[in-house]
Every structure is written in C-alpha cells, then in structure tokens.
C-alpha cells in the first residue's frame, strides 16, 4: 500500500519511475533534503523501490570495489609535453586569444559583406545604379575588368560551402569559374550567354548561394 503524506507533495505528482530514477542519487548521498524526504516517504510504501534500493546499494559497492584494470605508460607526461612543445600546442596567450577572436570576427565580417553586397546590388540594380555597385566590386576582383561581359555573373557562396557544393552549383548552370573566389568568397563565373537570366534564378534558388547577379551593367535580368 502506498501512503500519501502532506509532507511530500512530490509523492502526489511523481510517477513511480521518477522515484526509481532518484534511487542512484539516494544511495550516493547527493539528493537534496526535499527529494530525499519525498523518496523516504515513497519507499515506506513501495516494495518494488525498496527491492531496487537494495540492488542499488550492491551496485555502488560493486563499483567502489571494482578495480578497473588498466596500465598506463609511465612516460605519459613526457608524451603530453612533447605535444605541448609542438608549435600547435602552445597555451593560448592573450594575443593568441585575440587572434582567434579576430579570425572568427573576420569570418563573420566576410559573410556579412557578401550578404550586404548582394542586397546592395539588388537595390542598386532596381534603381538603375548598377555602375555604383560595379565599382564597389572592382576592389574585390583583381582581373574583373578583363572578363566582364554579358555572360559573366558574380556568385557569392556561404563561407561554409564546400568546394564540392560550389562545383555542383556551378555545374547546374554550365558555369565556368573565370576568377575567384576573392576575399569575400565571390566568384566570377561565365555562363552561356543565352542562359544568363535562368542561371541567375537557378543559383539564387540554391541553398548555400548568398547572391548571384550579372556582372555587367545592364545585363539581363
């Protein structure tokens, strides 16, 4: 018979399994006062849990008596120090932590710049000021001036996009990489001249593509 007590609101709401789940912590002595009192109350009326408790005590005794057999090499510390002395294992000093943060910030900045560039390009294109955007891209692509034509696109991928994913995306539009990626992960890509608009739409629809747009002012779409 299970007793209920107003000293234990837990007993009224806890199903049996939840008390059972507390038994290991009862025997290792880490339960808080409220949980222990509630479990004591439950144990008085639950033969199953009392039997489990006896098993728990045997189990803890087994763990604490068990000598897990292992032999670790005596030169363990020397082997760790050999790795520590390697250039890649220096403890992070203040400037190295700053450097790590800088890299993380740089990656975020690259992603943001690529996204903003796409947005700016779209806005400028709608406003008929593609030339302004083109000028901003000029600083990002070394040989841009020699390749821009009606069949050339700028395509930016997520910083996390794999090379295989990029190749796959470009293959779907029969695109050939003319140059890139630049520091903002923008590729200059040539596609069949008659398929520029389709290529842009196709690339925009793919996950991992931040933006895709014709490189030349006035080019379709």
């Amino acid at each position: 018979m299970t007793k209920q007590s107003d000293t234990s609101t837990m007993n009224a709401s806890f199903p049996h399994q939840e008390f059972s789940e507390l038994l290991p912590f009862y025997v290792n002595g880490t339960l808080g006062d409220a949980e222990r009192a509630a479990l004591d109350e439950h144990l008085r009326g639950c033969l199953t849990c009392r039997a489990e408790l006896a098993g728990e005590q045997r189990l803890m005794q087994a763990f604490r008596s068990s000598d897990a057999e292992q032999q670790v090499a005596d030169d363990g510390f020397e082997r760790v120090m050999a790795r520590v002395r390697g250039s890649a294992a220096q403890p992070p000093s203040a400037w190295r932590r700053w450097g790590r943060r800088s890299v993380q910030h740089a990656v975020r900045r690259v992603a943001m710049v690529a996204m903003l560039a796409g947005v700016m390009f779209g806005i400028a294109h709608m406003q008929g000021r593609v030339g302004l955007v083109e000028q901003s891209f000029h600083t990002l692509s070394q040989d841009r001036g020699s390749v821009v034509g009606a069949d050339v696109l700028y395509v930016a991928f997520d910083a996390q996009a794999s090379m295989a994913a990029i190749k796959d995306a470009l293959a779907t539009v029969k695109g050939d990489v003319v140059s890139g990626p630049n520091r903002d992960n923008v590729f200059t890509v040539r596609v069949p001249a008659s398929e520029v608009a389709t290529a842009v739409d196709t690339l925009k629809a793919r996950s991992g593509v931040k933006f895709a747009a014709p490189a030349a002012p006035g080019a379709a779409p």
Partner: protein, 209 residues
C-alpha cells in the same frame, strides 16, 4: 530466502578501490594550478598531471572498456587542459571540469573507431570481446562483464554516479546534456544491468509489490 548461488555470485575484489570524494579534493589548489597552466607553467602542469592521472585512467577505461585507448585518450585530455586552461572559467569543481573533457575525448575516441550513436542517443559498440568477457567471468569480475552490455555513454553516467558520487546536475555538466537525460540514461542502464545481472534487482529478497 536468497539462494546460495545468488550470494556467491557477488564476490568483490579486495582491497576496495578508493571511491572518489570530491569534497576531499583541494579544489582551490587545483584551480591555482589550472591558472598557472594557463600561463604556460610546465611544472604546474606536471603536478596537475600526476594528481589526476590515475583518476582519469579509471574513468577513461570505464567509458571505453578498451585498454588500448586509455593512454591516448589521457594524452588528449591533458593536451586539452594545457590548451584550455587560460580561458576556462571556474564554474565547477576542477575535477568536474576535467571529467567533462575526459568524457568528451573518450566518446570521441570511440566514434573514431566507428562506434555509432543508437536511436536513444547512446552508442552501440556491439558484443565486444567475448574471450575477455569470459576471462572476467571466470575471475568473478561480474561488474566488468555486465558493463559490456551498456553503451559508452551509459557506462560514463554509471561511473559518475556510483564511483564518483556526483549529483545528477553535475553529471549533466560533465556529459553536456539535460538533467532528465542523465536520469533516464541511468534508469535504462540499471534496467539493462539487472537483465544481465539479476542479483542487482534485489529479487533474492523476495520482494515484489
């Protein structure tokens, strides 16, 4: 009344190993060492290494049950200590922080062996080495035999609760999972252990509701 077989099957080794008493550890001293390690203090690192090597040996072995991994995993754990010491905040006992690293590195080593996660989030390593299990059975090391039937994550949780004596909140920190996951994981591990080691169920006392 318990059967004689039921009593005989529970033979424990002597002398007993020393269970971990976290409160007896010099946590302030540990964190002072960690702070010095963060500044690149190799002698402090050696003190820390020697203080915790045996502690880690048992834990790593209990999780992996693979002797050949223990050296390498401890090496990885201590390298991580060296690398992380400068940016580690004192949010828990040093031993809890270290167990968290050891748990992660042990499971990582198991994954590298191709041991995959099961549908319950734990990992299944198959039946293991039957000949070793047989030797352990002959040596009456029944706990070790029984533990082979658990996943590495279940073994880690069991070791943390029964040997290290941690509260479920601390185990959740070590294993980087919710508290309810800890309780459920241990519940299912106990159930599995009772299946392979019925004497743990307490049934010899003839108790049933």
């Amino acid at each position: 009344m318990a059967s004689s077989a039921g009593h005989n099957i529970l033979k424990f080794r002597a002398p007993p190993a020393q269970p971990v008493d976290a409160s007896a550890r010099d946590d302030d001293g540990d964190w002072q060492l960690i702070e010095r390690i963060g500044r690149g203090d190799a002698p402090a690192f050696e003190v820390f290494y020697k203080r915790y090597r045996r502690y880690l040996e048992r834990f790593v072995y209990q999780v992996t049950r693979r002797q050949e991994l223990v050296d390498d995993v401890i090496n990885e754990v201590m390298l991580a200590v060296w690398q992380q010491a400068a940016r580690t905040e004192r949010l828990a006992l040093a031993s809890t922080w270290l167990l968290g690293i050891a748990n992660f590195k042990s499971l990582q080593a198991m994954r590298k062996l191709g041991i995959t996660r099961g549908s319950d989030g734990s990992m299944d390593e198959g039946s293991g080495d039957d000949s070793l299990a047989q030797r352990e059975l002959e040596q009456d090391n029944l706990l070790n035999v029984a533990l082979r039937h658990l996943s590495p994550e279940q073994r880690a949780a069991m070791e943390l609760v029964y040997f290290h004596g941690l509260h479920y909140q601390d185990i959740a920190k070590v294993m980087d999972c919710p508290e309810n996951t800890v309780k459920t994981r241990i519940f299912h591990a106990r159930k599995r252990l009772r299946e392979v080691w019925p004497q743990l169920s307490g049934e010899q006392a003839g108790t049933s509701e």
